[in-house]
Amino acid sequence: MAEILSLHDAVKRFVNDGDTVALEGFTHLIPTAAGHEIIRQGKKGLTLVRMTPDLIYDQLIGAGCARKLIFSWGGNPGVGSLHRLRDAVEKQWPHALEIEEHSHADLANAYVAGASGLPFAVLRAYAGSDLPKVNPLIKSVTCPFTGEVLAAVPSVRPDVTVIHAQKADRQGNVLLWGILGVQKEAALAARRCIVTVEEIVDNLDAPMNACVLPTWALSAVCHVPGGAHPSYAHGYTERDNRFYQAWDPIARDRETFTAWINEYIHGCADFSEFQARLAAASEAK
């Protein structure tokens, strides 16, 4: 059964130094507030898994929380580079970051395999690509029925997955909709799962076949309205495209980045204080 907890308490209890952590959400429903809380609590040595590292992992990497990154596309969507990721890879700042690189199809299949309790995923991939040359975990397997050689990749089984969703009920059952990405698979592949939600309601009113994660498959549910910002929650908030653009000059430079982290994450008690500070700063402009 999921407990309804504050995000502070959920991260404190369920995210440990050295864990493999997946904060998923494919452009939509990115659990930014949880990323901030992990930075605020100074978690260290994390192996971060995410198909699209996005701003959330740029922040975690730049803040020194990560030892390793497992990913398949590392850019600032529609804007350009993730400068903190690049600085860590190219110049080892704030420290060296090991990278393990895949394709989207590979990681999506690896989450399915993880949720299915399998040790590896099989897919038709990578023939002719150089990725297997730089990622020794991409191997091949021969189909015992047809003889076809297929790619084999280890399943993703995080210690803890964090996702953001639209709604939970008071028992901790979670409903999400819109672009689902790999959230369901990531949640079910993990040993522990934290879900931040826009609202907690008496009754989910989930349509039949809707994407519902039952409370007994989750560890904690936290009420964090707007917790996906600058990503969005379909039906609740809009994507803050301007923040994605504004992030580029902030992250480009180590000093401006560190000042931003100090003011907006360490300088705020929680995500709602962060939101208030961000709103005040944008009004002042």
């Binding site: 939509h28 850019g75 199809a105 991939a125 002719g128 653009q245």
Partner: protein, 259 residues
Amino acid sequence: MTYTTNEMMTVAAARRLKNGSVCFVGIGLPSKAANLARLTSSPDVVLIYESGPIGAKPSVLPLSIGDGELAETADTVVPTAEIFRYWLQGGRIDVGFLGAAQVDRFGNINTTVVGDYHQPKVRLPGAGGAPEIAGSAKSVLIILKQSARSFVDKLDFITSVGHGEGGDSRKRLGLPGAGPVGIITDLCIMEPEAGTNEFVVTALHPGVTREQVVAATGWAIRFADSVAVTAEPTEVELTALRDLEARTAAAHGQAPGEA
């Protein structure tokens, strides 16, 4: 109507998308061209985005691969794993429409690094969905602006395979799709030569010279025996493209990224 070379590129790419075809769309230039096709010559083209929307009909261009309007206008939205498993690997994609940072003469694509992988000069975003789109779509179209830095003699990294080492390379690799059938740039259209599968120029955009193309290509580019001249953008095409870009800018407060 006067037009820019970028507009010519987008229009020429849009014309390649047959009405009714099922197209797996990359973000940026492919998405712009695919939506222009849907708004002009190919109203029944089915656009699939890797985030999950199938049959997306956005009124403005998405800034990200997971914009809400893609989901709202789609026939259905499925999980990302399903997109890659059932729809792409399952053999249901007619055209994979890709951008690139660099291509070579066989239509292989690099979106990973410039320089050594472990000591990169430039770290690019990486693979995304492209390797499997390039492998499994029945055919592939590539769109990117042409320069000697982007059309290179030898790729530092092959992220997504085109015709490999040329000839029957794809067949030997066991790839199900036919691979890239066209590269559309702001200068010309290239297509694979029968037999070698090396890309040669088959059409020049109006006003573009062979010398310009040679100067903007990092390998000794060859020209087909008969080189056509691309038809200029029509008023209908240009108006549709400009309206789409104006709606996009108004909706997002910025132009869509072309990365």
